[in-house]
Amino acid sequence: MSKYYLSGIDWIAQALNRQCRKTPSRNNGFVIAFELEGLIRGDELRKFLKGADAAAKLLTGRTARHKFHLAPYWKCSAGNLNIDVEFSECPPDKDVCLAAADFANRPFRSKYEHLAVRLLARGENSLLLFKFDHLLFDGGGGELFLAALNDAAQFREPDCTLPQLSKWSDKFESGRNVNRFLRDINAGGKRDFFTFHAAHSGVSAANRFRTLHIPAAQAQAFFATGEEKLGPFMDTPFLLALIFGALAEPATGRGALDNDFILLPVTVDLRSGRDRKNRIFFNQWSLAPFSLPIAAASRPDLVVQAMKEQFIELVKSKFLADLDKANLLMRIIPLPLFAKMSSRIFAGTSGSCSFAFLPESGFKAKTFAGRKIRNLLHLPLIPPKPGIGIFINRYNNALNIIISFREGLISETELENLLATLRKAFEPVSG
């Protein structure tokens, strides 16, 4: 039976998963939602999902540890795949956020289950929701899995069958680099970071979502401005500058000081190049910290440049790869302890707000299960700390901005203001 040893980032994903154990979902999964034209019959969907049988041994596996060296691995199973699929009806105007939250907050049926599906007949159209377990998939991998399913492609075996218990000095060096980088962010413990969760104990709070759809023309105009200011391939820093500016207002409203910092832990997809589409399973991302003092919000052009500079510095310092390598050492630490440690990942804090931008890259098809796709949204759960995340995915040149948050963490007024600020940034400039 196959064994796939977990990477350092997989181990961080395991820790984040554990942090969600008291929440209704009991895990840290994510939902990919398809808004489809027309209705899908139940038997048709079940037949379509049969394509996943080719990945059954991974999809019915679980985490285990090696008896002697304790390296965690994914223990494949010979069990049959029995995907949890439910069908229901909802009003044509049912909000995707509500449907996705109902589904995302429900736990998987067992520790051997890592994928579940809900099909909602929404008037004459369909809302098809896939819930993925972050232990086996990341956002990019979820899209690639669905693309493979859609193309009736075979699933390739992942490539991580060695425990990577070698090159200790390299790993120690990576750990040292990570520590130095984080110490710089923290300025030797002198900085205060704004968090929403300061007055919120919600380790058991349910997850909620809010979305904002940005049509293609507005999104393209926004990124054209970004390219004018920062040059090509700088979409992420340009979006980060926007998020930073939008968070400054609620931070100030909650009494944060001008010299307090907003810290954005950013998930960066590390897939690139030829093998991209075969890197479906497990976690292929790293975490990048971006931070600036709240006072900077009054000078948006400086924020934009600062985000670009921090992005370049992160690549230069090789922080993203070092974080993965360094955590290979941490895998022997018991998960409850590691989960506690990683709830304070950056500079002693879990950050102000998580952020990820998933550019259109994994799922490019215009139809799914034979139906025209109106929209594709990513709705990730967020661990209780930081308790709020802003996630953006691009589909068909349009953007979906998702605010994922733990109930009670942020007020309705704050949410509305945050959405209004984000919406305004994409509005065409008149005159």
Partner: protein, 87 residues
């Protein structure tokens, strides 16, 4: 700063793109855009750092447009233009 012919620059760029994207050098197509050759934002910064190392050209500090990355050859021409101007 040494002047390097555009064709030689394109050759080095193809080598670097191959390393970044995990391809063979001959799979990197000089007439295609960087994105079509598998470069994403992370890869782009890595490429610019490699350019800085090879040619002592800080592309980050020079204004770049979509036209400059419309193909590997176009980027090579941009680098050649900057090295020429710095002579």
């Amino acid at each position: 700063m040494e002047t390097v012919p555009s064709a030689r620059i394109a050759d080095i760029l193809r080598e670097e793109i191959a390393i970044i994207t995990g391809r063979e050098k001959n799979e990197v197509e000089p007439d295609k855009s960087l994105a079509e050759n598998g470069i994403n934002s992370l890869g782009f910064v890595e490429l610019l750092l490699a350019v800085e190392k090879h040619f002592q050209v800080k592309l980050m500090e020079n204004a770049m447009s979509s036209a400059d990355i419309s193909s590997v050859n176009a980027l090579a021409a941009k680098i050649a233009e900057i090295t020429q101007a710095c002579r």
